[in-house]
């Protein structure tokens, strides 16, 4: 394809990304240096780095950062482990049965996140099914407090995204060369040994892919926290995203919220740049 044709074809998409991603990002950086509320939205006041120092000395920001990190640390390994195990089991059945299981397992993932969280929360309302079960087993009352809200956020995160890893690992297992397994069987390897020495190394590139996207996505978690904590500061269950949102919408410090968003961008970039370099080299080599 010629250069001119390429630019002609790609230009609508590139234009919209320049106009609505690159420019807004530049605006966000600019707004981060300004004091702005909903009142002086047309004329933000320049305050230099004050928003950034505000953010970095804000204990609630660090608390939300810590909870986000904790969430990521629990949820991401769970996705990988549970997804891989269920994919192995799903690989054991075939045909119609497999299709039915697959459809059911996918359900959480295709439900609107906000609605899935509301459904999940219904189980834990004072009259909910799991509230009742919990009280039967522990004979203590279940109530929404810091620990329970945080636990529910983590559980929901696991429940909601595991289908994605199941499908990815399952697709990977379908391409596993049969000869490798047969050779191992002839050598007398047991099932667990085969999984450990053949399957896990075989899907390792998928694992890297899942880890990368999972970490980025769990870092951005918003919808479920919004519903489960109701942004109530009493639960101390803010994530970086919900705190940024609360700063913008509830406290109306738009400049500070922009500074927070930019800090998040920088944080993600630090993690992402090595990967981007790798991808860049790969793409250059491929063409």
């Amino acid at each position: 394809m010629k250069r001119d044709t390429f630019f002609a074809f790609a230009s609508p998409s590139v234009a919209i990304m320049l106009l609505l991603m690159v420019v807004p990002l530049a605006i966000a950086i600019w707004l981060g240096f300004h004091y702005m509320t909903f009142r002086n939205i047309a004329a933000p006041e320049f305050v230099g780095l004050r928003n950034y120092s505000d953010v970095l000395s804000d204990p609630r920001f660090w608390r939300s950062f810590n909870f986000t990190a904790l969430y990521t640390a629990i949820v991401v390994p769970s996705w990988v482990v549970i997804g891989f195990i269920i994919a192995l089991f799903l690989d054991q059945v075939s045909g119609f049965v497999r299709g039915v299981y697959m459809s059911i397992f996918l359900l959480p993932f295709i439900t609107v996140p906000i609605i899935a969280t509301i459904m999940f929360k219904q189980l834990w309302e004072p009259s909910g099914l799991l509230t009742w079960l919990y009280q039967q087993f522990t004979s203590t009352r279940f109530r929404m407090n810091e620990t329970s809200v945080k636990t529910l956020i983590v559980f929901f995160g696991i429940w909601y995204v595991t289908p994605f890893t199941i499908v990815v690992y399952f697709a990977g297992l379908q391409t596993l060369p049969q000869e490798m397994i047969e050779a191992a069987s002839i050598d007398g390897a047991g099932r667990l040994q085969k999984i450990r020495h053949i399957v896990i190394p075989y899907v390792s590139s998928l694992t890297v892919f899942i880890l990368l996207f999972s970490i980025m996505d769990s870092y951005r978690v918003f919808d479920s926290v919004y519903v489960l904590s109701g942004l109530n500061p009493q639960f101390k269950a803010d994530t970086v995203m919900t705190y940024t949102f609360a700063t913008a919408v509830q406290v109306q410090r738009l400049g500070k919220a922009n500074a927070m968003a930019i800090l998040t961008v920088i944080g993600i970039m630090v993690v992402l740049v090595p990967f981007l370099r790798l991808m860049y080299k790969e793409q250059i080599a491929e063409r």
Binding site: F9, S13, I86, F89, V112, I114, Q122, Y226
Partner: protein
């Protein structure tokens, strides 16, 4: 992997899969049950698994005042819907050109959705539903059209510019929504575009574009180059050969991508929440039901959740193969 063959082993496999099925379904089943309960039943101290179902919650969510000839109107709407769905499903085997049938059905559904509030006094929820349909339809159309052009050119052009665009898109896909949404809010309020569908659609197209072009590119790369080359030898130009030869071949991949765009647009909460004040889509509208703990809101939230989830589940299950294909394509190709 090789199959487990022992009887106990097979039982164990099914036991695990059935347990996971229950685990996946419990919130759906419970919410479904709550949505058919009276407020009194829904608040029972011990959860009621057997109860007398009522449609009151659904009625309260959708309909403001029931008209006198409700049964006749309801039957008419149901009949029209059944005929249209029947036409859609049998379009392939009808002796008429199926595009004509699809077009007719689309127009029919549009007319039906427009007619319902003329006949029955509907709740605001219906407006949010229509809003969601419009936003989603426009987002998919625009996003896939420009995404196809870009994805195709990125699959075929070997220059450095293509690599730079792809890597930049990947970086932007990883950034948090809020980094874009707050500036959109600022721009929107300066241009007086807040609370308009236009701003929501354009923003949704933009934030999903990186994902869209990556996915479409991976599907276009599977299409052999000889195809368009032979078309071009026959005298078609690049655009003609793309539209007439490449797009039909890559169509399943385009459907997969459209399905993901559908999910992304239908699901979006944060962006719509910040950029609109009353012109909501369903996720934002439904989140309003859970704000406070007043009595009847649990059953209403349940009925609203089920109402908003059913259409999407029907669509997705119908296209499930494409969804799974898309998920694994994205995975295998990074």
């Amino acid at each position: 992997m090789d199959r487990i063959t022992s009887r106990a082993g097979r039982r164990f496999v099914h036991f695990v899969l059935l347990s996971f099925t229950v685990y996946s379904l419990v919130p759906f089943i419970w919410t479904g049950m709550q949505s058919f309960k009276t407020v009194k039943d829904a608040f029972s101290r011990t959860p009621l698994l057997l109860f007398e179902p009522t449609l009151q919650n659904y009625q309260d969510v959708w309909i403001r005042r029931v008209p006198e000839n409700a049964e006749a109107i309801g039957l008419g709407i149901l009949l029209a819907a059944v005929v249209l769905v029947g036409l859609l499903l049998t379009a392939r085997s009808l002796p008429i050109n199926d595009r004509l049938v699809y077009g007719f059905c689309l127009a029919g559904f549009g007319l039906l959705l427009w007619a319902i509030p003329q006949l029955i006094y509907m709740q605001k929820f219906y407006d949010y539903f229509i809003n969601t349909l419009i936003v989603t339809a426009f987002t998919i159309t625009i996003s896939i059209s420009i995404g196809c052009l870009a994805g195709y050119s990125l699959a075929r052009y070997a220059g450095l510019a293509a690599v730079v665009i792809l890597i930049a898109a990947l970086a932007f896909r990883a950034l948090p929504r809020l980094a874009f949404v707050l500036p959109y809010y600022w721009i929107g309020s300066l241009l007086n575009l807040l609370d308009t569908g236009l701003l929501v659609v354009v923003s949704l197209v933009a934030v999903n574009q990186p994902f869209t072009i990556w996915m479409l590119r991976s599907f276009f790369m599977e299409v052999p180059k000889d195809l368009e080359e032979s078309a071009m030898v026959d005298g078609a130009n690049r655009l003609q050969s793309f539209l007439r030869v490449i797009v039909p071949v890559a169509w399943p991949g385009i459907i997969s991508t459209a399905l993901f765009t559908l999910l992304l647009a239908y699901n979006e909460f944060l962006l719509v929440r910040v950029l609109t004040q009353s012109n909501w889509t369903l996720p934002v509208a439904i989140s309003r039901y859970t704000g406070n703990e007043s009595a009847d809101e649990i059953t209403l939230a349940a009925a609203a959740s089920v109402s908003a989830t059913l259409p999407i589940i029907v669509v997705i299950l119908y296209f499930q193969k494409h969804l799974v294909k898309g998920l694994s394509a994205g995975a295998v190709k990074g």
